[in-house]
């Protein structure tokens, strides 16, 4: 399992919408829109945890459905799952519904082993 070093600035997916940078501002769209899914990188370990947080933070405050695509995840650890968990809870607190459009087995196994699979809405 190679650990690639990634600089924080290069992990934004191309499809990501330009949402308001301040997560405390209420979402402008209150109905379900076609937001592109948040795609998780293949390598999300503690070294990429800060970048992951930056990727997810702008989506807090959206209401409606937030779709996450975890099908590409190959390497994940506790730190990254902790970030995901914090995201899911914060997003829900703002009225969002989390849905997974794809889950890799690596992600599924890790989430289950840490006991957080149900908390982030992955089926057991």
């Amino acid at each position: 399992m190679a650990r690639k070093k990634k600089s924080p600035r290069t992990t934004r997916p191309v499809e990501e919408r330009d949402v308001s940078a301040d997560p405390r501002e209420p979402a402008r769209n209150s109905t379900v829109q076609n937001h592109a899914p948040i795609t998780l990188e293949p390598v999300i370990t503690i070294s990429e945890a800060a970048a992951l947080k930056d990727q997810l933070l702008p989506h807090i405050g959206r209401s409606g459905e937030i779709i996450i695509d975890g099908s590409r995840v190959e390497s994940v650890d506790t730190a990254a799952l902790q970030v995901l968990l914090a995201f899911v809870r914060s997003a829900r607190a703002q009225g969002a519904i989390i849905r997974w459009s794809g889950i890799s087995s690596a992600l599924q196994n890790a989430a289950q082993l840490l006991g957080i699979a149900r908390l982030i809405s992955l089926q057991t």
Partner: protein, 652 residues
């Protein structure tokens, strides 16, 4: 080419079979242990669910099929050992059995099903976390609380858990309460802690701690062993039965024997005809014996004798067709005791014995509610809370025993508990409060105990606590006496109570005492008779001008002049000229004034309602050997009528 089949004719059969299947499932689940789950039981429950699913699908009960499929999936995982057996799981499955019963019942009676209730159950079933081990099994409990900076050394709980998991049987529970919201979270620090459970097996504490060795200084680690470590012993099939459990199981296993279902009307019709046959045969018998001297009659007598034996056997068999093991009623009780004791915070063990004793189907049906009520009472009022029991130097777990056995033509059911017993002072006080006993009235201990059977003793609010129905001990007793039986109570304060119930095995025949009034013959059920006596004028007394009482043993009991009740012409009007038959129903006694007491015999009961109409004071009729009709006296009914009349008179 579509074939239009009307399957609705088979619905009844499906509902019956499903009801049986659900009972079997319930029984299995109640017997399932969490520390060493019996695979046979799980398999049996699975098969039962599978059958119901199949039938439901065939007959178009799709909601039922869908729901049962979910249960089937869970059970399948259990038997594949992919899902551990926990108390939570068993409870949820039992709730689901109830839900299924409800669904099937609604379908059967054409009522709408509350789908919201079923959806909620479904939700719980599908989101129940899968435990890796059986609860109660020996397992390690590991409480792991990392310090915030644990990740900085390159260590990761994920890898540690992965190693724990490699030898199987790991369940992980996370606590994320300390986790800040995303904006405030430092992603390189850790704010989670865990409780892990690992099947003990061969694992040692040292081997567990070894896995956490590198992070020892960066966390709080607690390791404890839960449950009992057992040696792996082969479970033999013929294991030691625990009290009545083995018997209850064999009753369930009866399903494997060849059996067929018959419509109850067909049975009743058959039994009726057998009854007719018996009567005809006894008339024939009488005729044959009348011609005793004639030598040609010898052959006749011999044939008649043969016939008598045949019909007697036929009658026995016919009676037995309607008989069912009392287990059909007893099998509700373990669940009841379990649920009730749970909700009341008590620990109660229920021991059942004699549940294969057979009793008439109608008796079975009518005794069910009284038994349930008595058991409920035993758990609710009898058995004390664990702390109270310990304080009284009793084991924390209370014991209720119910047993049934046959004695002559009766079935004796005994319900005993080792609870608090009845407190005579409290009962007396309550009875006085309710106006059942006068302030200064003195009662014997037996009389005090029997006060609980008085109507009005328990208020509806007390009694309906869990059942929601107002049922008092008086109704219990009435149900039993209506069946021609009686109930007796023995209780020792602090030690417990015993209820003894005597019931006739069958409602179709009766052991009766023949009596004569004028030219009419009546039958008094032997079960109700206390004694027959020659009355003495000295003991007779007239009270308030209308009521006649007679001194019998230490009591004064009312006299019932049957010739008046039934308007029968007779010469015998003075007490010393006739006889008094002292009868009782419940704790009420009366003396029936009759002309003569004749013999005793077993009679076949024929319904008055079916052949004529219901008559107050009579519970049926029969045809005697000489072809005459004899009425059967309804003792409880008569006594009840008497009290009613007295009450009316008192008011007037």
């Amino acid at each position: 080419m579509a074939v239009d089949l009307d399957l609705s004719q088979f619905h009844g059969l499906f509902f019956e079979e499903s009801a049986e299947g659900l009972t079997a499932m319930e029984s299995g689940l109640l017997n399932l242990r969490t520390d060493a789950p019996d695979l046979e039981i799980i398999n049996m429950v699975f098969r039962a669910a599978h059958s119901i699913k199949g039938g439901a699908g065939t007959f178009g009960f799709n909601e039922v099929a869908h729901f049962t499929h979910i249960l089937e999936t869970l059970l399948d995982e259990m038997r594949d050992r992919k899902r551990g057996v926990t108390q939570e799981l068993i409870d949820l499955l039992l709730e689901s059995v109830d839900g299924l019963r409800y669904m099937l019942d609604s379908s059967k009676n054409g009522r709408a099903t509350d789908m919201q209730r079923m959806r909620a159950l479904e939700q719980r079933l599908t989101t129940l976390p899968r435990e890796a081990h059986n609860e109660g099994e020996a397992r390690w409990q590991i409480k792991f609380t990392p310090r915030r900076h644990l990740l900085k050394t390159g260590n990761d709980p994920y890898r540690i858990f992965r190693e724990l998991q490699s030898t199987g049987g790991l369940t992980v529970k996370v606590n994320a309460q300390r986790l800040p919201n995303l904006a405030e979270l430092d992603p390189e620090e850790i704010h989670l802690d865990w409780e892990l459970y690992k099947k003990a097996g061969e694992t040692t504490e040292a081997s567990i701690r070894e896995l956490f060795a590198w992070v020892e200084g960066d966390c709080d680690l607690q390791v404890a062993l839960l449950g009992e470590r057992r040696h792996m012993v082969e479970r033999r099939k013929g294991r030691e039965p625990e009290g009545g459990e083995a018997e209850a199981e064999t009753a369930g296993k009866g399903h494997e024997q060849a059996s067929i279902r018959i419509n109850i009307e067909k049975i009743d019709g058959l039994i009726n005809l057998v009854g007719e046959l018996v009567i005809t045969q006894s008339i024939l018998n009488r005729i044959a014996s009348d011609h005793a001297v004639d030598s040609r009659a010898e052959k006749l007598k011999w044939v008649v004798g043969l016939l008598e034996r045949n019909t007697s056997e036929l009658q026995d068999h016919a009676m037995r067709i309607r008989m069912l093991p009392i287990d059909f009623t007893f099998n509700r009780l373990p669940r009841l005791v379990r649920d009730l004791s749970r909700s009341l915070g008590k620990q109660v063990e229920l021991k059942i014995s004699g549940n294969s004793t057979e009793v008439d189907k109608t008796v079975l049906e009518k005794i069910s509610d009284p038994l349930v009520h008595l058991i409920r009472n035993a758990v609710d009022h009898g058995i004390e809370k664990p702390e109270d029991r310990l304080a009284a130097d009793k084991p924390a777990q209370g014991l209720i025993e119910i047993s049934a056995h046959q004695e002559g033509g009766n079935i004796i059911i005994k319900i005993s508990d080792d609870g608090a017993g009845l407190n005579p002072e409290r009962i007396l006080a309550k009875a006085r409060e309710r106006g059942l006993v006068a302030e200064h009235e003195e009662l014997t201990p037996m009389e005090v105990q029997n006060l609980i059977f008085q109507p009005g003793f328990s208020t509806a609010s007390e009694v309906s606590d869990i059942s929601g129905r107002g049922v008092g001990m008086d109704v219990v007793r009435r149900n039993i006496t209506d069946l021609g039986g009686h109930i007796e109570l023995m209780s020792v304060p602090g030690k417990g109570s015993i209820f003894n119930i005597k019931l006739p095995l069958t409602l179709a025949i009766l052991d009766g005492q023949l009596i004569r009034i004028g030219r009419e013959v009546f039958i008094v059920p032997l079960l109700n008779i206390v004694e027959s006596i020659q009355p003495r004028k000295a003991h007779a007394l007239e009270v308030t001008g209308q009521n006649e009482v007679y001194r019998f043993r230490d009591q004064y009991i009312p006299v019932i002049r049957l010739y008046q009740c039934f308007t029968i012409p007779t010469e015998i009007r003075e007490l010393p000229q006739g006889l008094l038959v002292v009868v009782e129903a419940g704790e009420q006694r009366a003396a029936l004034f009759v002309d003569e007491v004749l013999g005793q015999q077993q009679v076949v009961i024929k319904s008055l309602e079916a052949n004529y109409q219901q008559v107050a004071g009579l519970s049926g009729a029969t045809i005697l050997g000489d072809g005459t009709v004899a009425m059967i006296i309804d003792v409880p009914g008569l006594i009840h009528m008497l009290r009613a009349k007295k009450a009316v008179r008192a008011v007037v």
